[in-house]
Amino acid sequence: MSDIKKIKDDYIDKLNTENNVDKVNNIKSELFGKNGIISNEFKKLGSISVEERKKLASDLNNVKDELQNKILIKIQEIETKEINLKLEKEKIDVTLPERDIKIGKIHPVSQVIDEISSIFSEIGFSVEEGPDVENEYNNFTALNTPDNHPARDMHDTFYLDNNKELLLRTHTSPVQVRTMLKGKPPFKIIAPGRTYRSDSDQTHAPMFHQVEGLHIDKNINMGHLKGCLNYFIKEFFEVDKIKMRFRPSHFPFTEPSAEVDIGYEIKNGKIVIGEGDKWLEILGCGMVHPNVLKNVKVNPSKYQGYAFGIGIDRLGMLKYGINDLRAFFETDYRWLSHFGFDPLDVPSNYRGLSR
């Protein structure tokens, strides 16, 4: 027994000082290999008396367990130490810059168009489009703006021919004409797009964006128009309350016509929509003129409804605090990065219009 104990103590000591896995494994085979010390001790059991054998076997088993356990722990210990050492050596400076990130952006005009489409989609409008080049008839005549009418002076038109037959549309209203000519009532559409007027200064650009709205059905009246726009403006500016004023105006293609102002005030140099006692004109609208309905083969005694036109760029400027309209179209990398939107920021009802 004392032999075994001595062997055990010696090897425990040996293991305690050992730091190498291979050497620990050597010890393991020294002890438990084919001719290992412990293995040999077990072989000896056969040659001793039954009584002694019982005791010795038990002792041997204990020593075996203890040593095996020790070896296991030791290996784990050394491995852990080695891994830790390796990890220590592998440490890098994670504050070094990552690989190039290129962050793309969506132009504010596009973002605002998506916001507008999302809002109107909620109340059942679908999106229509029309060409940028229009004929004189769709842009003016069909919209009850006959030739030689002073109302045409309100539009500084770009022409593509000397007969003034082809032009760049001065508003999105010709989409009304196209939509109604190709379909049958009811109609419930918005039509965002590029529009053009030969006008250029701080607040006017020769190209800008409008969204047209049209809702024609049997009993659509000015109350619906007011309700629709009230809803839109509240949703768009993401405010609970909106101060809105309908004011009589004149457009040849609507009757009665209105301009819509919203209340605002300037707080710390920024426009706050929905408060204050100043008024800002943001759109024109009205009940579609019976002459227009006749021109597009819709019976005005059966159908009626409203139309509106909103300046998209201006809405964007108001909502996002952009001062200069011209900058929208100047492709300044700094401006685009600053006012642009993340491409994943898709305006929608359930995720919210904007972040």
């Binding site: 109340i123 999106v127 082809l166 009246n221 109350g223 492709t331 300044d332």
Partner: protein, 802 residues
């Protein structure tokens, strides 16, 4: 349309204060643009005192004055006036002031080397008199304690400026505005006093309106006023004219203008002695000319409405008079004209000759044809009062009679249109106050439209009148109706939004540029498209519609490079025009990438952007938009603005005619022409219209989910092949060996040069082979390998590398 509240009160009895009037005007559709003092330009001129006047160091005739301008401020002004001396009180104009005489805006300027901050003024410069020999000398006793105060007192009251919509000519006169206000409950319209004017004799200058097809005049009323003394207008009249922002000229001219703004009744006064015998209203003949009161000579076209005498044209009817018959201070006898000209004729003539006058502005919108006499009487009265003279009987010639407009109005239309109800009684009251004659026939109202409202022709116009006067605030705000008639977006609209965000998510900044561009740049990108010039461009470098998005994109790319940006990714989605007819346009994405990938990176090698960067962007975007990558075919034929050897076209499948997209480097000639300085420049474009709508919803288009669990094996092959042989071909040849077993073919190495014969290249591919029925054994695989090699060798002329 400008007027003062005072002037308004000549026509309106009202208890409203100014702010109430302003609000009411806006609420009934007469939008108030501004409400401010008309003389603001003169506010800058202040009383000042010369403290010290010394000789200018560089000019003997100039003086250098230290001027006390109040608030303990002294400034230095260079002055040429001989009377500038110490202690003189005078009028000082600071920089920014506008000098009334020449309308010049003062700025801080150096005069003979010395900086002068503003100016000391003479009476003539302020239009106070003709005195121009020296600066104004103000009396000590009156002005000594007013240094720093405004020299011009605010004598005139505030002016209301209305923006009148083109349908409301009646409100281009103060009386019309007053009438609208009275209908809206803001007061009572005053009744015009009956004239007790005494007429003497007949208007004995014969007037003829020629009956011609193009005749633009239907009524010509006139009277003679003999023995007048023309003079400066009295102060009240001058003030009125000034408040309109106009210059007083002489009593007679001022009176005609006053009546025009008061009643919206344009008039014209001729010096009767300068008319050669008679007045003939006729259409002009091409080539006739006359000198107009704006001191310009106009050469006329055919069929313009002219007022003429036996010697020729006197003036353009309803637009502008001529100098030959103009009134002067010496004028003794006047022929006063009050006529009706057709809007269409006025508009055509004024457009052709490019003339804009207050009279033209009114006639083209439509003047009250029944106001001929009223205008003559009102002006004659004033002329008699101010200039004396005797007035002849009124002479009114007409070739057409005014026809009343009658509308049978069903009040139900009002509620149907506006959504709210107004009692008949109130409705009638509003219409009557607006000047309608109302009679009832059961439920229908028979309305006679007032002659001053040419804009009202049908029932819906009546609805507008009532709702605007009643107030838009009475319209209810209904809950939005949410009914949907069809989906919000169609396939192409969805594609638009999808691709837009897909491209942006690859690091591109979206921009929006003009739809027009510079023809010189456009020409480099227009290929076979026709150039589409704009007849009246905003500027000569935006003179054509863009045939491609790239002209603008590259123009702005260059600007950003010039700003110091090196690595730029930009794109635009929008129209490219293919012809000048409506609809001749495609929706295109154009994108540019310039500079390097991984610039100044501590761990990656810097690399100039290349064709395969944009190829990745374009293919990935298309796949994200729903195009199957396996269907895509690449071709090397591209538009001429691409580098012929480093660009490709993308097709949705083999037999497609139009490329969905192109990508690659720009042709070096174009980079040189546009003088773009960058390390690398690659572009791509996607034409949305050429993407095929599968017409299948995603829920229907997903195929059955199948996969194989049998072992797959990968084999590498390297072939020596002709340099121009396309890798896409090679891949297709390999796939076609057995498209069931060969799951993928990946090109992983391409090189030329060392150990490769001239004109050849080495391509290495990795082929994945997997069966859906069994695990392939060595033998099966060997057979496939052999087949691959033999197919490639026979179909492409390649040799397997050993």
């Amino acid at each position: 349309m400008k007027f003062t509240v005072d002037w308004l009160k000549n026509h309106l009895d009202t208890k409203f204060n100014n702010n109430q009037i302003i609000d009411k005007l806006t609420n009934i559709g007469l939008e108030v643009e501004s409400f401010e003092s008309s003389t603001s330009e003169l506010d800058t001129f202040i009383v000042a005192k010369i403290i010290n006047a010394k000789t200018h160091p560089n000019a003997d005739r100039l003086k250098l004055c230290d001027v006390d301008i109040g608030s303990d401020k002294t400034i230095e002004v260079v002055c040429g006036a001989p009377n500038a001396k110490n202690g003189l009180l005078t009028v000082y104009a600071p920089p920014g002031s506008i000098i009334p005489k020449n309308q010049m805006k003062l700025s801080v300027s150096k005069i003979r080397g010395v900086t002068s901050y503003g100016m000391l003024c003479s009476e003539s410069e302020l239009l106070l008199s003709n005195e121009s020999d020296g600066i104004i000398e103000l009396k000590n006793n009156k002005y000594a304690n007013k240094i720093g105060e405004k020299y011009f007192k605010k004598t005139s009251e505030k002016v209301i400026d209305l923006s009148i919509t083109p349908n409301r000519p009646d409100c281009l006169g103060v009386r019309g505005i007053a009438r609208d206000l009275s209908a809206a409950g803001a007061g009572t319209l005053k009744i015009n006093k009956k004239s007790n004017l005494k007429y003497r004799g007949n208007q004995n200058i014969n007037v003829t309106i020629k009956k011609e097809k193009a005749q633009g005049c239907t009524i010509f009323g006139s009277c003679l006023i003999k023995g007048v003394t023309n003079k400066e207008s009295p102060k009240w009249l001058k003030d009125k004219i000034l408040s309109l922002g106009q210059k007083p000229i002489s009593a007679i001219v001022d009176i005609t203008n006053y009546v025009m703004f008061d009643l919206n009744r344009p008039l014209h006064a001729y010096d009767a002695d300068k008319i050669d015998n008679e007045v003939i209203v006729r259409s002009s003949s091409k080539g006739e000319s006359f000198e107009a009161l704006d001191n310009k000579k106009y050469i006329l076209e055919n069929d313009m409405c002219v007022i003429s005498d036996r010697s020729g044209v006197l003036g353009l009817g309803g637009i502008i008079g001529g100098t030959r018959s103009g009134t002067e201070y010496s004028t003794k006898n006047i022929l006063l004209e009050s006529a009706y000209f057709l809007p269409r004729s006025i508009r055509k003539t004024s457009k052709q000759l490019n003339i804009d006058t207050d009279a033209k502005f009114r006639f083209e919108r439509g003047i009250d044809p029944l106001s001929i006499e009223e205008g003559l009487i009102k002006a004659s009265e004033l002329i008699k009062q101010i200039c004396g003279g005797e007035i002849s009987n009124l002479d009114v010639k007409k070739i057409d009679n005014y026809k009343k407009t009658i509308i049978n109005f069903d009040p139900f239309l009002f509620e149907k249109t506006t959504g709210f109800n107004v009692e008949n009684k109130e409705l009638i009251k509003i219409l009557e106050k607006l000047g309608f004659d109302v009679s009832k026939n059961k439920k229908i109202l028979k309305l006679v439209v007032p002659s001053w409202r040419p804009d009202i022709t049908q029932s819906i116009d009546i609805v507008e009148e009532i709702v605007r006067i009643k107030g838009y605030e009475h319209i209810n705000t209904s809950e939005p109706i949410k009914t949907r008639l069809k989906p919000t977006l169609n396939y192409y609209q969805k594609l638009f939004h999808f691709l837009q965000r897909s491209v942006a998510s690859k690091g591109y900044l979206e921009t929006v540029t003009w739809s027009f561009t510079d023809s010189k740049i456009n020409q480099l990108f227009k290929e076979n498209d026709e150039e589409i010039p704009i007849v009246n461009p905003i500027s000569s470098d935006l003179n054509v519609l863009r045939n491609s998005i790239f002209p603008n994109l590259l123009f702005y790319l260059k600007k950003n490079l010039d700003r110091g940006f090196k690595d730029i990714s930009l794109f635009e989605i929008g129209p490219a025009f293919k012809g000048k007819n409506p609809g001749d346009q495609l929706t295109v994405i154009g994108a540019v990438r310039a500079g390097k990938v991984s610039r100044l990176s501590w761990n990656d090698k810097e690399r100039i952007v290349d064709t395969f960067d944009v190829k990745k962007d374009v293919i990935q975007s298309l796949c994200e938009a729903g195009i199957d990558k396996d269907d895509i075919v690449i071709d090397d034929k591209t538009p001429s603005y691409y580098h012929p050897g480093k660009s490709g076209g993308v097709y949705q499948n083999k037999n497609e005619k139009n490329a969905l997209a192109y990508f690659g480097e720009i042709h070096p000639n174009i980079i040189k022409k546009l003088d773009i300085k960058t390390e690398g420049l690659v572009i791509f474009e996607i034409c949305l219209d050429y993407i095929k709508d599968s017409k299948q919803k995603i829920k229907d288009s997903k195929s059955e989910y199948k996969f194989s669990d049998f072992q797959k094996s990968e084999r590498d092959f390297a072939f020596i092949i002709n340099k121009n042989f396309k890798s896409q071909e090679l891949v297709n040849i390999i796939k076609s060996v057995d498209d069931k077993l060969i799951k993928s073919v990946i090109v992983f190495d391409v090189f030329e040069g060392e150990n490769i014969p001239e004109g050849k290249k080495s391509i290495a591919v990795n082929v994945t082979i997997q069966s859906e029925e069994k695990t392939l054994n060595e033998n099966d695989l060997e057979n496939i390998n052999k087949l691959i090699i033999s197919s490639v060798e026979s179909k492409s002329g390649a040799k397997i590398r050993s």
